[in-house]
Symmetry: C2
Subunit: 390 residues, 2 copies
Amino acid sequence: MAKFLQDVLVVDFTRVLAGPFCTMTLADLGARVLKIEPPGGDEARGMGPFKNGQSLYFASINRGKESVVLDLKTDAGREAARALAGRADVLVENYRPGTMDRLGLGYESLAEFNPRLIYASLSGFGQTGPYRDRGAYDVIVQAMSGMMGITGQLHGPPTRVGASIGDLIPALYMVGGIMGALFERSQTGQGCRLDVAMMDSVFALTENALARYWLTEQNPAPLGNRHPAIAPFSTFATGDGTIVIACGNDSLWQRLCDCLEIPEGLDDPRFVDNQQRTENAEALAEFLEIRLAHRGTDDWLERLLTAGIPAAKVNRMSDLASDPHLRSRNMVREIEQEGIGRMLTPGSPIKSNRSDDDIGAVAPALGADTGRVLEELMERSGSAGADGDD
Amino acid sequence: MAKFLQDVLVVDFTRVLAGPFCTMTLADLGARVLKIEPPGGDEARGMGPFKNGQSLYFASINRGKESVVLDLKTDAGREAARALAGRADVLVENYRPGTMDRLGLGYESLAEFNPRLIYASLSGFGQTGPYRDRGAYDVIVQAMSGMMGITGQLHGPPTRVGASIGDLIPALYMVGGIMGALFERSQTGQGCRLDVAMMDSVFALTENALARYWLTEQNPAPLGNRHPAIAPFSTFATGDGTIVIACGNDSLWQRLCDCLEIPEGLDDPRFVDNQQRTENAEALAEFLEIRLAHRGTDDWLERLLTAGIPAAKVNRMSDLASDPHLRSRNMVREIEQEGIGRMLTPGSPIKSNRSDDDIGAVAPALGADTGRVLEELMERSGSAGADGDD
């Protein structure tokens, strides 16, 4: 089967996480991604966990790319980079604002000789604004965007989301931006500049917290595992662990009281509708947990799912590695990575009948493709001229 | 300025959150979105917080759309829905798998008379696999995907991310999928089916947790605000509150010891490189906090930022509402919503020189556009024939 981006050439100047995750997603969708690395390699190659001295961190976000080593501190390196950008459809970079300009690889300079180029800049705070020059890491962005301030146990401290969503969410927004720009270019022939900031992106995902503040003049605070406006919708203690139950409407609530054999819940004025249940969420949890204590999580889970009530247990990675549903959806992939051997990694979640979900199995060794790519480039330069447009 | 999706027509059968957030993002990028609602309206109209009986929850995820009421329980309603789908570029739905088929609005049936249609299905677990028919809510997905199991305080319970990322992340993946499909269609003329699952999508964002489990056979667990492989990279107590400091490399670590005037940190074997600092993260936090206790957060923040060290405070929504950077990037938008008045909402994080970041100011009143849209449809049917293709 084909892929959505099968004829798209991406020149990738990104390092570490946000940029590489973005270009990996493009590679998963079929783009050819040339990862430009300095002679010492992307610093992610030095980040753990390691096996046989190889970084699984790097391997998990660089599959399906080609590695081209260019020393951008030299004229020859910058010239080769410009030549690659000249024939690329998309350039992605996540340096601090201004760095690419200083290297002679800024947007204006490249757009002049490749007007079809989509030039995508990912950064902590964007190409404009007072925080533009600040450094950003995931935890900085989670804190500044408001996400940390609404995550955590009730009355507990603000809590970092355990995955680096400060990088991954802007990467997904940039994937959308790049695809939108490719679509627009297919209509107009014109490339463009894209500017996606980590802080903007995570802030955009804080849901209606800003509206709640605006309405109440109270800052939304960590609520534990509860939802601010739906109940029950949380984790609850069982006889031997924890279960998640979510009832988004009264009919599910009725079904829950039936399934748990607690009909008195239906008559209790504190639980009569979703608004009452949300306001009395702590009492609701106590009420449910008295009953839930009588059986273990697996037993309740089977009963609740049979009754059609959304419920779950809190999966660990060991559960997910063998989860039959994720396996059936090609979401747990075993790849053979040079130097590491077999490893597990999540697959691509964009499934389509016109773009297969195969993933490029391996992340490249440093510079593995330098010679071949530069040779190919010279050949094409010879036949296609210097403007890089085709 | 133009927008990336300015001539794209989206027929939107989505409810509540994942689907509406996806189509809002398409609307932000210029698509015309016809929100098809049942006579009682999207159930999100009944979800709090409320002002003057109007849902801010609904308003925050439905800006820039038109509302068309169709009763899909009637032949006439389904016929109108089919006619709209016949001339749409994109259809988005987030019913449980099988529901659209039962309504005569399934993919095969619509693709037959509109082969250019991009038919996008968002669901809890996808259109295939053993969990296909289960109900899903955000907290179910956060628990099942592994995200909850790696989020929380050290030795504390698994913790829900405070925003509904179980809905919002798949929405972003679907935005990418739809744009990719639009691009591919611009090359081939063919529409397609898209299938994005909430569980797949959040699992894909658990970073290298799966690889870490694979390597160590230990399940990654909540680490508090720390990073599993970088230190310092967390929140730390100051004299009057909390500060976030992140040093991704040794040169930033050296600068941090200079700025805090704790040169002994540089000679301490426990802190000699990132790997040592990560292994001794608790000792590192104690070491830093002894010094940080001498001043308040604002004072340290100014010193650290001046020294070029990534640092931040944990923002609340009140900070973000007036944040000069977000304001300068058009990320805090004041909109005038009918029935609510002025409200604040995050803007669009995809910035480009060829697609402006204006957002459609208001979410529509229920059915506000039904008459006009159906009339327009009839007119075009008269002139363009019944196949809906143009």
